[in-house]
Symmetry: C2
Subunit: 195 residues, 2 copies
DNA sequence: ATATGTTCTCTAGCACTGCTAGATCTAGCG
DNA sequence: CGCTAGATCTAGCAGTGCTAGAGAACATAT
């Protein structure tokens, strides 16, 4: 049933889908999400607007969600034990985790917004939570459970820690933290968790 | 120079300004910020759209900012020592602060969004930070400095605690925390700060 | 190689958005 | 009462997300 022509075609469709997502992300990181319009996206991939809806029937919000999912994939990778290096004292491990998280948010501000501000569509903490999203949470929980003196309730502690770093990232992004004290805040948070 | 007619007029203008802000807030809490359009606001106050721009030359974003400022005023009031009751153990005081904060966010989701997500216009942690905004931060810092065993660096600790509660509020709002464990998270956070 | 029918793609347009220029009306002053 | 200054409205612009229907291109079967 899958003729060679159909296979090639499917490959082209998939490639075009990724070009849409990449264009959306680039446009967002460059000029903010309000600059990501269907017309500009169509221009970027050199097709007309309706083509976008062939790939993303739910339209713009679905494209934002796709960018968010890519972001979760990258974040989970950067928080994985292999990326962080699982050695050192408890404080060092927590510091590595927190720093990696905040770095990601600072390096990909628009993508981070898509992940946490814009796409409320993605189900969390439920059975059909995408695997990549769960992986990010698992990385945090994994770091906590691997500590020499782990918290009693790892799941709850992981949610609180996630909230804390997300809060710092969000306030930082909004310019609502005093400048030049980034390390001080990280250190204070690390000491709270692994102090 | 200020004739009685002009004084009455000024009062009417101020009253209409407040009606705009109230309508925006109500509309946002009821149907979300995307439902807050200049046409609907004009309808609500029974004037035409251009009237809005007489009050808020910068347009819609300035109206959102006005709602945010009202929100900061209310939040500061609810976090003040007189509202919290400054007695009890360290854990009790921190718990009261955290709970009051999260309650406010849960009760006024759209207003909270205006304060932290939408209006990046408000300058923070700078000399021209509005007094009401600073008051919220001061309430957090005040609670921390009033503890029996206060943190070394109150300002930094207050920023971290603000980030933590904001993060929990944001993740909760986005439906990204496991359901039914609100108290557990609060307790875990309280123990981190005053444990 | 050609006709066929499906599948894809584009043009054009709708209803909506924030915002503004210019006409119109109203209200206060002399 | 007449006039002027100010407030207010009507109408419209450029842009948004999204979609129906016309048109082109393509793989398939003869």
């Amino acid at each position: 049933m899958t003729s060679p022509a159909a296979a090639r075609r499917a490959r082209q469709v998939e490639e075009r889908r990724e070009r849409i997502v990449a264009a959306a992300r680039e446009l967002a990181e460059e000029h903010g999400w309000e600059a990501v319009t269907t017309r500009r996206l169509a221009d970027a991939i050199e097709y007309s607007q309706p083509v976008l809806y062939g790939h993303f029937p739910q339209g713009r919000t679905e494209i934002v969600t796709a960018v968010a999912l890519v972001g979760f994939e990258e974040l989970a990778a950067e928080l994985s034990p292999s990326a962080l290096g699982a050695a050192g004292t408890d404080a060092e491990r927590v510091r590595a985790l927190v720093t990696a998280y905040l770095d990601f948010a600072a390096r990909n501000p628009a993508t981070y917004d898509a992940m946490f501000l814009l796409s409320v569509v993605i189900p969390f903490a439920s059975d059909d939570t995408p695997a990549v999203v769960r992986a990010g949470f698992d990385a945090i929980a994994g770091t906590l459970s691997g500590l020499e003196s782990p918290p009693d309730d790892v799941a709850t502690a992981a949610e609180v820690l996630w909230g804390s770093v997300h809060g710092l990232a969000a306030l930082y992004r909004a310019g609502r933290l005093s400048a030049g004290n980034d390390d001080g805040r990280v250190e204070a948070l690390v000491r709270l968790v692994a102090g």
